[in-house]
Amino acid sequence: IVQAKRPLGPYDTSEPVTPYEQATTYNNYYEFGTDKADPARMAGTLHTRPWTIKIDGEVKKPQTVDIDTLQSWFPLEDRIYRMRCVEGWSMVMPWLGFPLGSLIRRLEPTSKAKYVQFTALLDPKQFPGQRADVLNWPYVEGLRLDEALHPLAFMAVGLNGRILPGQNGAPLRLVVPWKYGFKGIKAIVRITLTAKQPQTTWSLAAPDEYGFYANVNPKVDHPRWSQATERRIGELSRRPTLPFNGYAKEVASLYSGMDLRKFF
């Protein structure tokens, strides 16, 4: 494991990083199966090269680009982020990648662009979980354009200084550390800038449980469990969950004037 001995950046947490073994064997990735051990077991069926990403919608430069080309557009950065799952557990993940905002700006959104929609790979041959209609495949996620342009919003291609493992979202995944983990769509094949709010997978599957915004909020409970606390993987007792997963200083202003109970 390459543990970078570098000074922490402005967006890094200094909390201890979750061991690689646990971060790569305890995953929610229903395309591989609904058990948290399934993704690590099944990820070998996913081929992440060659891989292209289609970029379309409200952009001046619609195009289809190879993952290696896309990656080469930006210098890769390390980001040590907290990751809070909607189920009440959390990890500290050392991602490697580039800011989503850098990509969006390069694509030159038109004046109509208000949202970014991400679509994951649809291929039941590579994703055995897609043979069951547990969710509407392919997985779709989205962000408001200003959220996507926030410097914390990140596209990851690596973890712990190595290439991203299949079970963690290779070859390209979204990381939005102030939102619940399910917003972090994996195996992205399409990025579409839209005028309308995207219909996202979990908000369609259970609208009363999962919203479009999905900002980490200890005050808004999931109907079946409290979101006030979380278990950091590797610890036995729970700790309080922080508003916006501890990133309130950076992102709370994005939502000023919004009723976060309504837009959960």
């Binding site: 646990q22 064997t25 305890y26 229903y30 609904t34 948290k36 051990a37 189920e87 557990w89 069951a132 547990v134 969710l135 599957a205 259970a206 409970d221 109907p223 079946r224 469990w225 409290s226 606390t229 278990r231 993987i233 590797g234 036995l236 007792s237 729970r238």
Partner: protein, 214 residues
């Protein structure tokens, strides 16, 4: 063919020992880290699933007699029921631990809110409460003290407990209902078997009714 009493005397102890093996396995796994990244959640799930499995097995004893004329399952029904209660209690203890009962700042309100506010918890807690009087009256002399009719009526609560347990599992999973569906299916099958046999008034093939059996 079931034998007369005595020949299967080992069956009860074997079920109790076998039924407690998962506790030992979980304890060993906890020590070696084999419970994975989230051991509390794993133990929570495993004790819950074991509770349901044992409850369904205890409920299968009578239909097995009705359909196949087997009397031996009735001999282990009590052991299965008590094991189910043990796992339900463990399941609840893990829940209490998860809610931080060992922390100095623990408030009972956390749990009361959970039970009142969340149907998923309400169902599970109700199922556990229903199992308590059953466990308490499953020892020697209880049938005599209560009277057979009252004891039997009381122990019918196990149907309600099992149904609530399956509902609790159903509501507890995030999306994939395959597992709870299996338990629900088995429960319905067991209910259907009893109901059909009662309706058709088919006399059980077994000649001798087991003591205390329905």
């Amino acid at each position: 063919m079931a034998r007369r009493s005595g020949a299967l005397g080992w069956l009860g102890p074997a079920v109790v020992v076998g039924g407690l093996i998962p506790v030992i396995v979980m304890a060993l796994d906890a020590g070696s880290g084999a419970l994975g990244a989230n051991p509390v959640q794993r133990v929570q799930l495993q004790t819950g699933v074991l509770t349901l499995a044992l409850l369904l097995l205890s409920l299968a004893c009578t239909p097995l007699r009705l359909v196949f004329g087997w009397t031996w399952p009735a001999r282990i029904r009590k052991a299965l029921g008590l094991l189910a209660f043990v796992y339900a209690a463990l399941h609840f203890l893990v829940y209490l631990f998860d809610k931080g009962i060992l922390n100095s700042d623990f408030g009972l309100q956390t749990i009361l809110t959970d039970i009142v506010k969340r149907p998923f918890i309400t169902a599970g807690f109700a199922a556990l409460l229903l199992l308590v009087p059953l466990a308490l009256t499953s020892f020697k002399g209880s049938v005599k003290r209560l009277g057979f009719a009252r004891w039997t009526a009381l122990h019918r609560l196990v149907y309600v407990a099992a149904a609530l347990g399956v509902l609790h599992y159903w509501w507890g999973v995030k999306k994939d209902h395959t597992q709870p569906l299996i338990y629900a299916g088995v429960l319905l099958l067991l209910f259907a078997a009893r109901w059909l046999w009662k309706k058709r008034k088919v006399t059980p093939r077994a000649k001798k009714r087991p003591v205390g059996g329905l």
